[in-house]
Amino acid sequence: MATDETPEPEQKPEPQQGRGPADRRPMPPESRPAPAAASAEGTDSPKPDDTQQNAGKPADAGVPAAEAEDKASGTPQNGRQRLAASLWPPRLTRAQLIVALLLFILGLGLAIQVRSTSDSSALRGARQEDLVRILDELDNRSQRLTEEQRRLEGQKTELENSSDQAEEARKQTVEKEQQLGVLAGTVAAQGPGITLTIDDATHSVEADKLLDTVQELRAAGAEAIQVNDVRVVANTYLSDVSGGVQIDGKRVAQPYRFKVIGKPEDLEPALNIPGGVVQTLEKEQAKVSVTRQRKIIVDALREAKRPDYARLSSR
């Protein structure tokens, strides 16, 4: 671990000392460097005054003032004294100036370096391969983030779609519910259609005739039928009772007023065809009138009944 400086000056003046400077401990420095320094000067200084010669040596050899000072003090030289001697009385010598110049350069570099590392980002002083590595990392990172963004956007679109679909499905469900409600008689309905009035004074019109009428209307495309205040639906039944007719267990009184929603142009001819409902009823002495109407309101309702046994057989 020898420094550049320690061996060289030592070896130059005194090669015979050999490995000396590398191994020796600097504890007793004053005894051995003294002749070295003296001979470095080129003068074989005698032993007696080698302490004095040594005094001014380290910093600037050949300055009489320093030598005189050290001579005056006459103390044995050691590192500390040498340091103090070279520090305090400032001497303007070539060595000092050169060292000062080099130290100036060092201080300048130090300050620049400290400045540049402290005042700007860490990238400023970074070297090419570090920068490439950092760039790579950033690239990877941005790639990962882009991927994540794409994934999240896909998720978002999916969710939007699914919420759209859910909305659509809900709309369709509502629509279907209304359609089915009209069919099942759970909701009121309105639209063009006809009214059919059967005034049966002789009570000769029985349930089968009314059922025939209903069938005829259904065949002609009736969509909602109401007889007096009873809604006629798929499971409607008609039965004879004494002096009248029951529909779905409710007695309907004379006259029978049918309110039918459907295409009037289809319904009316269907009733009036020769040998059809109207003629058959008139044969029974009933007075029958059919009128087309722009707006029929079928507002008799049936309550929806949950089936006890029938279940969905498929999804």
């Binding site: 380290p58 590192g79 000062a100 100036f104 570099g109 370096q113 391969e129």
Partner: protein, 110 residues
């Protein structure tokens, strides 16, 4: 004394003037500074040993800086710049420590 003044002036000038370092030199500056520090510590130790020689100091200072920068430059060219500069800093650091130990023995006798 004048040398110490030179160091101080250098630091002050560097902080105040804020010179712009060419980018070519920039990567080698920190290593060069560490190498120069090593030379300075070596010089201080030599001075305390009483064997200081200005010529040796100048040569060692400059060669330290040049060699350190050269090693880093070579490392950059070989693609091992980071490792080599770490190695240089470690070696210089060890030398600085050993020199500092020698200086300490002189100054504090311990």
């Amino acid at each position: 004394m004048i040398a110490v003044l030179g160091l101080i002036v250098g630091v002050v000038v560097g902080l105040v003037v804020r010179p712009v370092v060419p980018t070519v030199v920039e990567p080698y500056l920190p290593i060069a500074v560490v190498a120069a520090l090593d030379a300075v510590f070596g010089g201080l130790r030599a001075m305390l040993d009483g064997i200081f020689d200005d010529k040796v100091f100048v040569v060692s200072f400059l060669s330290n800086v040049v060699v350190a920068a050269l090693i880093v430059f070579l490392g950059d060219k070989l693609g091992v710049g980071a490792q080599l500069s770490t190695g240089v800093v470690v070696v210089l650091g060890i030398r600085i420590f050993s020199n500092a130990a020698a200086i300490r023995r002189h100054v504090f006798r311990a």
